[in-house]
């Protein structure tokens, strides 16, 4: 059994230690907000927070996150930055297909938690690992600035 702390709750999971956190979240816990996109940490659709830092859940085995605090999109609004980022995303209607957006939001929240006034260059760096095939990047950038304004 693997013991994980996810969104403040402790879960006991009967999965192999090499199971990626992504599939533990999705298939064992049916927490489906975190998405599968590439399985190799190339697209960021599976981004979650581990101790507040953005991590690609598809290439993080559950054994590596035992004893750490995991947060997913499902409770990202529990903290102010997450709530503000979600609101900015909705205000600007960032989403199109929406499949990558959980990951985008998790990366944006991690950025704004560290840097309350990111420049375009800071955004490019922090969001470089998150692909959006609908190319909503113009609005992702605008929403991060919008959220930064709201947090100021």
């Amino acid at each position: 059994m693997i013991k994980l702390t996810i969104n403040g709750k402790v879960h006991q999971l009967d999965v192999a230690p090499d199971t990626p956190l992504l599939w533990a979240l999705r298939d064992s816990l049916q927490m489906t907000g975190t998405k599968y996109g590439c399985g190799q940490g190339l697209c960021g659709a599976c981004t979650v927070h581990v101790d507040g830092k953005p991590v690609r859940a598809c290439s993080t085995p559950v054994s590596a996150v035992v004893g750490h605090k995991i947060r997913t999109i499902e409770t990202v609004d529990a903290e102010r930055v997450g709530k503000v980022v979600q609101e900015a995303w909705r205000k600007l209607d960032v989403v199109q297909c929406g499949y990558c957006q959980s990951g985008q939001i998790m990366s944006a929240v991690a950025l704004l938690s560290q840097n309350r006034k990111p420049s375009d260059a800071d955004i490019d760096t922090a969001m470089a690992g998150n692909l959006c095939r609908c190319a909503t990047y113009v609005r992702i950038r605008a929403a991060i600035h919008e959220a930064a304004k709201a947090l100021a």
Binding site: V15, A16, T19, P20, W23, R26, D27, S28, Q30, M31, T32, G33, T34, K35, Y36, G37, C38, G39, Q40, L42, C43, A45, T72, I73, E74, V76, D77, Q86, W89, R90, D93, V94, V95, Q96, C97, G98, Y99, C100, Q101, S102, I105, I123, D124, M127, A128, N130, L131, C132, R133, C134, A135, T136, Y137, V138, R139, I140, R141
Partner: protein, 732 residues
């Protein structure tokens, strides 16, 4: 919850009303599955059935049934906006549900008796339908209120979800009137609003899917879990056309969680209790493939073959004047050829499908884009009638055409797995990224050869455009509709209807039939390559004529005011003709392109910086769009922004290559979509219009790559003749 369905207008009336748009074609799969069902419905009085797009709950909710897939293009919001405006609903009370698969009620009115989403038709084919649906719902609410209050219907006002009567001071919500309204007769005629009266259309109605797509609750196929469901990951053959010769499943079956391993026509499926176990099982399989019927050419060899074919005349797709004589007598001939690769759609959600076979029915969960085709095929496989196959249309995590597969490939694969296990469990087929990337159904590889004739006075008098590439439509249910005299319309669209006033024009096409790579529509279809070759070549001709690219286009667009309108608007907003400042060691240029696709007109002006090492940065793109009535202006901007990014991705990086028939790319490291740092600044200007709405999901794509290439040429003098761009040609 107590709910009533307001049934709107009969299908018969809709078909009569849209007869000019109803294209007669017969779906072979349907004809096989339900003889006499397809094609005859319209003529038969027995098919007088209600069309249901609207449900008003006693809880005051207004639910709009969307017959079209929401795959990011904003269709749920757009359809609801149209209906809610005519209904005079309050936007906050409106929600949207995916409609059932039922070609009788929910056919795409442009596609005859077939339900599906594509060709940027969702708003265009639904415009009248959704307006009438909303207006008739409104009329029934008004009738119910008039009866209840004993007042004249003409004195009743409906606004923002409130029905009121000024004289008596009475008012009621839709929910309060819903049950009474259900007893009112469906009006045979409804008065639609004058565009001046629109309260949602043309305004900023917010997306209906933003909340669910920002908190992780939006349901995609990948998110479906059913009791007892197994997850299937499949070992696919390494080449198109290869089949399973034998396999050893012993190692796979030893993996914890693996439940079964079965052979299907598409390969070998490993079924497990969860995705990770299924993947591990698939990786542990040992499969010997029979490649005797496999396609084994590489993409380089395909291109060599196409270039050879291009030396001979093809089938004529357009012919005007006398090109042979014009070119023979030309003072100057400009020529160029262009190469376009296979492209994967690479939607963020890899293809997947859930199938649950029951005693006498089947249920499917899918980002369902092609209901009638998929339903017919699944039904035929299980020996069911199409109506026994229930399709649940979920959000699609992108598609770009991939989920409207002419051959229902991944849907049938899921169904075959279920069949192979005799339906003993529901199955979720999960394609991993590599399965998706190597799964075929690509934008076809194309080779174009163009030449232009200038006469003694320097006028452009002749244009010859030859194309070589596989047909998307041949062998599909759309063949009778879209292939005429051997010409696949979508192979030449954008080329055969060149808008420029050139007196002698010839467009001819070679369609190779011995290439075993499955091909499919990819956002903007034929225009994804024809806009590039025609618009870049025209700039090359302009350079040879010593003319400004915008001025030459305007001279040649006298018969096409909508092209000219967006061109002028984009050029004006981009300050065309003013100098661009470049930093030391950098070259900058501005380029333009204009193109019509899906009855919409888009012009784009790109500003590009080319560095010494040849690398490119697209700094800004100014877009002008004429897509008829702008239902949701913000969504139009959003679609065009996304289209710019999608098209730039292909221009800079997109290429699927084959070697020995094997696809060389597998994941986003070798097929890299555009990332945020590469995204330009984008402006979108919308031409005001009260015309019927036309497409917007795709039309932003075609002009981008040629506008960027023309900007690069303006900066460097070098016209690029292949996509993706070869930046090595641009080293200073």
């Amino acid at each position: 919850m107590s709910e009533i369905i307001i049934e709107n207008l009969s299908r018969r009336r809709f078909l009569q009303g849209s007869a000019g748009l109803t294209l007669g074609f017969c779906l072979p799969v349907m004809a096989a599955g339900a003889a006499g069902k397809s094609g005859v419905v319209a003529a038969s009085p027995a098919s007088f059935e209600p069309n249901a797009f609207l449900r008003i709950g006693a809880d005051n909710s207004v639910t709009v049934m969307s017959k079209h897939l929401e795959m990011g293009q904003g269709t749920y919001t757009g359809l609801a906006t149209i209906l809610a405006d005519e209904l005079d609903a309050d936007w906050a009370q409106v929600r949207v549900e995916g409609a059932a698969a039922d070609a009788k009620r929910y056919n795409n009115t442009f596609w005859g008796p077939a339900q599906g989403t594509g060709g940027s038709t969702a708003m265009a084919n639904s415009w009248d339908q959704m307006r009438k649906a909303g207006a008739s719902g409104r009329a029934m609410l008004v009738s119910a209120a008039a009866k209840r209050w004993q007042v004249g219907a003409a004195e009743i006002v409906v606004r923002d979800g409130v029905v009121s009567h000024a004289g008596s001071g009475r008012k009621a919500s839709f929910g309060e009137l819903a049950l009474d309204a259900a007893n009112e007769a469906v009006p045979t005629e409804v008065k639609l609003k004058d565009p001046k009266e629109f309260r949602l259309i043309g305004k900023q109605a917010k997306r209906k899917d933003s909340a669910a797509k920002t908190n992780g609750t939006a349901q995609f196929t990948q998110d479906v879990f059913l009791p007892g469901m197994l997850v299937a990951v499949v070992a696919h053959p390494p080449q198109f056309g290869a089949t399973v010769q034998s396999f050893d499943a012993s190692k796979a079956k030893a993996i914890k969680g693996v439940v079964d391993v079965v052979q299907i026509p598409q390969g070998v499926a490993v079924l497990a209790s969860d995705t990770w176990s299924a993947k591990k099982g698939r990786d542990a399989l040992s499969v010997t493939w029979d490649d005797s019927k496999a396609f084994k050419l590489g993409s380089d060899e395909i291109l060599v073959k196409y270039k050879e074919m291009a030396k001979k005349p093809g089938l004529v797709a357009a012919n005007k004047g006398d090109t042979a004589k014009t070119f023979a007598g030309a003072a100057k001939v400009v020529s160029a050829s262009f190469d376009f690769p296979y492209l994967a759609h690479a939607a963020m959600e890899p293809m997947n499908c859930v199938v649950h076979l029951k005693a006498d029915s089947c249920e499917v969960w899918n980002g369902e884009q092609f209901q009638t085709v998929d339903q017919g095929r699944v039904a035929a496989l299980f020996g069911l009638k199409p109506e026994q196959v229930k399709l649940n249309m979920l959000y699609a995590g992108g598609s770009f055409g991939r989920r409207a597969c002419t051959q229902s490939d991944y849907v049938l694969e899921a169904a075959h797995i279920v069949k192979a296990i005799n339906g003993r469990a529901p199955v979720k087929l999960v394609w991993l990224r590599e399965d998706d990337m190597r799964g075929g159904y690509y934008r076809p590889l194309f080779h174009h050869a163009l030449e232009a004739a200038l006469d003694g006075s320097g006028q452009l008098v002749g244009w010859h455009h030859r194309l070589v590439g596989q047909s998307i439509i041949a062998g599909s249910p759309f063949e009778a509709m879209l292939v005429k005299d051997g010409i696949d319309h979508v192979s030449v669209e954008g080329a055969s209807n060149l808008p420029y006033a050139i007196p002698n024009l010839l467009v001819d096409l070679h369609t190779p039939t011995d290439i075993g790579v499955p091909v499919l529509w990819w956002r903007s279809v034929g225009s994804s390559h024809t806009a590039y070759s025609t618009e870049v070549f025209l700039d090359q001709v302009a350079a040879a004529m010593g003319k400004d690219p915008v001025a030459l286009r305007l001279e040649l667009l006298t018969e096409h005011p909508k092209h000219a309108g967006v061109l002028k608007l984009a050029a004006d907003k981009a300050n065309w003709g003013t100098p661009l400042k470049a930093a030391a060691g950098e070259r900058r240029g501005r380029g333009v392109a204009v193109h019509e696709s899906f009855k919409s007109f888009v012009a784009q002006v790109a500003e590009v910086t080319v560095k010494k090492d040849g690398s490119i940065k697209v700094d800004r793109v100014v877009c002008a769009v004429d897509c008829g009535t702008a239902i949701n202006p913000d969504n139009i901007r959003s679609q065009v922004e996304g289209a710019v990014g999608f098209a730039l991705s292909a221009a800079l990086h997109g290429e699927i290559t084959l070697k020995g028939g094997r696809v060389e790319q597998g994941n986003f490291d070798t097929y890299p979509p555009l990332r945020i740092a590469e995204m330009p600044k984008i402006e979108v200007h919308i031409v005001p219009s009260t015309g019927a709405p036309t497409g917007i999901g795709e039309p932003g794509v075609p002009p981008l790559a040629p506008a960027v290439a023309n900007a690069i040429a303006a900066a460097t003098g070098k016209f690029l003749h292949r996509m993706p761009f070869n930046t090595a040609e641009l080293v200073a």
